[in-house]
Symmetry: C2
Subunit: 458 residues, 2 copies
């Protein structure tokens, strides 16, 4: 009875809930670019005020980077910690957006209405599904369903430098029975999912320097070392012809998935051709002896995320550049140690440098992969509670992206995480024209009401 009233309230309140999300989306909280620091603070303040309006004791905590929003409310039942992030990715290339990324709009599409704008799916739209479920619960019952702690981060898209120190310093305050993380996608639009495997991530930036100044390629081309050639050759060496990564020992801590899990994944009917076709590709890249689904969920990868050097403006300049740069990331699985792999990578690069080139490295994030234990009965309670909103039953799946927070909850707070999100693969997160389906937002909010009901009683 009481759950039905909450669900009805969510349905009635959808227009207002959408407006609140729009308000939050208008704040350009790009965490990786220092020019947007004030906007990150504004987004944190917005969330503090919104949580306070639900009777939650919330505040914004300063860190060396962007603030952490912490809130406490409710009483009894399981103690749940909810995590989301209010920061967003940069928007470049801006010219590929059809509209201002920070002027969100509801747009009709062949698959129903969507909310278009930076952060709609990653992660403001997702985190607000949980907040809106709480709001409806409070409106109907006058209080939250159980003891709840909120932890809303502002540095998830920039390597979370302040996160683990903050968790360590506030471990007693943050510890709960289980964490709920809303930052993932469903397996497909009809199949809600709990992600139980997540790849880790290691990100490195490197600069290779040859000459001490840019040279004229006519006067020096030939005998003078070109650092773009050196960098290209190193990048080319990182994979062999079968798509395997060539760093020594790289696959040592990579487990094979069990036959059982493989059978379960095969049963999901993943359509690799459609997955690639949706982004204009037709030929699977990567390891030639692995299926695309296995690659994304259970295999490590190495990608160059950015490269630059020399003259890149209009026209032509026959410069022989002094430097070449790249941003390179590794997705990690199983027990791969990001710190050890960082060292292996740096050695790999140094071993390939001509004697008169130098290299400098800048380490960004480094997080191991995470695998959840689904023995905790909360997992099965949540999986069953999620199912009624969609045609298919909820599934345990893998996740290709890194959500390091799940690993930190385990290592620092000894707490398992349930990764429940309502995104879709075509949400274009990190890309121009990011969107979040209105159905994701609406059913997601309803699903959280169901999960809160199940976890607070079960």
């Amino acid at each position: 009875m009481s759950l039905d009233a909450v669900l009805a309230r969510i349905d009635a309140e959808l227009p207002q809930a959408t407006e609140r999300l729009m308000d939050l989306l208008r704040i350009p909280s790009i965490s990786t670019d220092p020019a947007f620091a004030d906007d990150c603070r504004a987004a944190a303040d917005w969330l503090v005020a919104d949580l306070q309006s639900l009777g939650i004791d919330a505040d914004s905590r300063a860190t060396p980077g962007h603030p952490m929003v912490v809130g406490h409310g409710g009483d009894g039942g399981r103690h749940l910690l909810f995590y989301g992030h209010y920061d967003v990715q940069p928007v470049d290339p801006l010219e590929l957006w059809d509209n201002d990324p920070f002027d969100p709009k509801v747009e009709e599409t062949p698959t129903g209405p969507v909310i278009r704008g930076r952060g709609t799916a990653d992660d403001k739209g997702q985190l607000m599904t949980f907040v809106e479920a709480c709001r409806a619960w409070v409106a109907v019952h006058g209080s939250l369903p159980c003891k709840l702690t909120f932890l809303l981060e502002g540095e998830e898209e920039s390597g979370s430098p302040s996160l683990t120190p903050f968790m360590e310093q506030n471990a007693d305050e943050l510890r709960a029975d289980i964490a709920l993380i809303c930052d993932t996608a469903m397996f497909d639009p009809d199949t809600p999912s709990i992600v139980t495997m997540l790849r880790g991530n290691l990100t490195e930036e490197l600069t290779i320097t040859g000459a001490d100044k840019d040279l004229h390629s006519g006067y020096y081309g030939g005998p003078a070392r070109n650092p773009i050639h050196v960098l290209s050759s190193i990048i080319s060496d990182l994979h062999d012809k079968d798509g395997r990564i060539t760093l020594p020992g790289f696959y040592d801590a990579v487990p094979e998935i069990s036959d059982e899990l493989r059978a379960q994944w095969d049963g999901l009917g993943f359509d690799a051709a459609a997955f690639l076709g949706a982004v204009g590709l037709s030929e699977p890249a990567g390891e030639t002896d692995r299926t695309p689904l296995e690659q994304i969920w259970a295999r490590p990868t190495c990608e160059v995320n950015g490269i630059w050097g020399g003259y890149t403006g209009a026209g032509f300049k026959t410069v022989l550049p002094a430097q070449a740069h790249a941003k390179i990331s590794f997705r990690l699985v199983g027990d791969q140690d990001p710190h050890a792999i960082r060292e292996t990578f740096r050695t790999f690069v140094k071993d390939r440098l001509p004697s008169d080139c130098t290299v400098t490295f800048k380490g960004h994030g480094a997080n191991p992969a995470a695998r959840m234990s689904i023995d905790d009965p909360a997992f099965e309670l949540a999986r069953r509670a999620l199912s009624p909103e969609w045609p298919n039953e909820a599934a345990y799946i893998g996740g290709g992206g890194s959500i390091p927070i799940a690993g930190h909850f385990k290592s620092i707070l000894d707490m398992d995480s349930m990764l429940i999100g309502f995104g879709r693969d075509d949400d274009q997160i990190h890309s121009p024209n990011e969107k979040y389906h209105m159905e994701s937002f609406h059913k997601g909010t309803r699903a959280w009401a169901r999960v809160l009901d199940a976890l607070s009683r079960g």
Copy 2:
């Protein structure tokens, strides 16, 4: 006697000549960037006015690009055409300049005073040595020493798109007995030089496209093709382990230098270690079985002049980019055909593309190599006239950079070119902090007076 008076006038006039050069240097005539089109026009107008002040019938001629300055003056003797260019290279990276590149200054250095700023050596300072020699001649004698035609271009740094059509349309007006080109360096600061071999140049820009949008490397990394990897692999394939270029047939039209020329070059005592050491390098790159001097003067090369793709801003973005780009140039020698090599290069790239990647090419300049015939007695007259200003006798040398104009003078106007310039290898042309030695400017002006004297009488 008369030459001595001209030389004395040049010495006396050096401060004013320097001020005139400074005026021209202050005009930011960057030809490759359309934002500076007005400045290119202003530089052309400045030169027209300056030539007119010498009694030369000069004007600025419109082209589809930047204007061509043409002037005629003098009478009798050999008919000489003088060529220089008033456009300059872009200035990025601007932060590596110690001063505003367009606010030139005379600076004391351990090797004597230099003029610092963009275009000082390439080519405004050089072209003004000839203009100042003419000015002194006119001041002393009341007229130019012989019949002179001026052709001052504004697109040399951006592939000279208007040059050959202009020469073809004005062939009768421009044809002379021989061309003088002042856009090269001396062999060393003590050895004036006439360049008799010049490498050609072929420049290509390419864009490789994979997916139809930027992707998240967590969700797509592995099975989705990364165009930066494809581009890096192609760049890496362009050279073999011995530094040779791997395009099929690339070396077919590359001649070996004669034993006589090799002996003469060996006699110059080129110090490869010092040449590389001056720019912070120690290990010769390029073809392992060729000396650095031979590589620069007589061997073709392939250099990536710019590369870019993915996220290149502050922080980190785990994007799997849709596109990767490069600007690539080839220096050509002997009878290498730039158009044939362009096609070979494009086929080489296409042959290495995965089936779901596409490539687009943008052709920039394409010029064959040039070799001068030194049988014309004007060469030996000029070589002897050049020598007295410097400790060593003037030498015939090769040039690594491309000066396509010399080839065009031959093919369109059937005219040989004498490449006489006073730059130094450390002038940092095309780089931050470009400079021109005051000695180059002063002795260069005096040397032109000597050459004009010799060629007008001989």
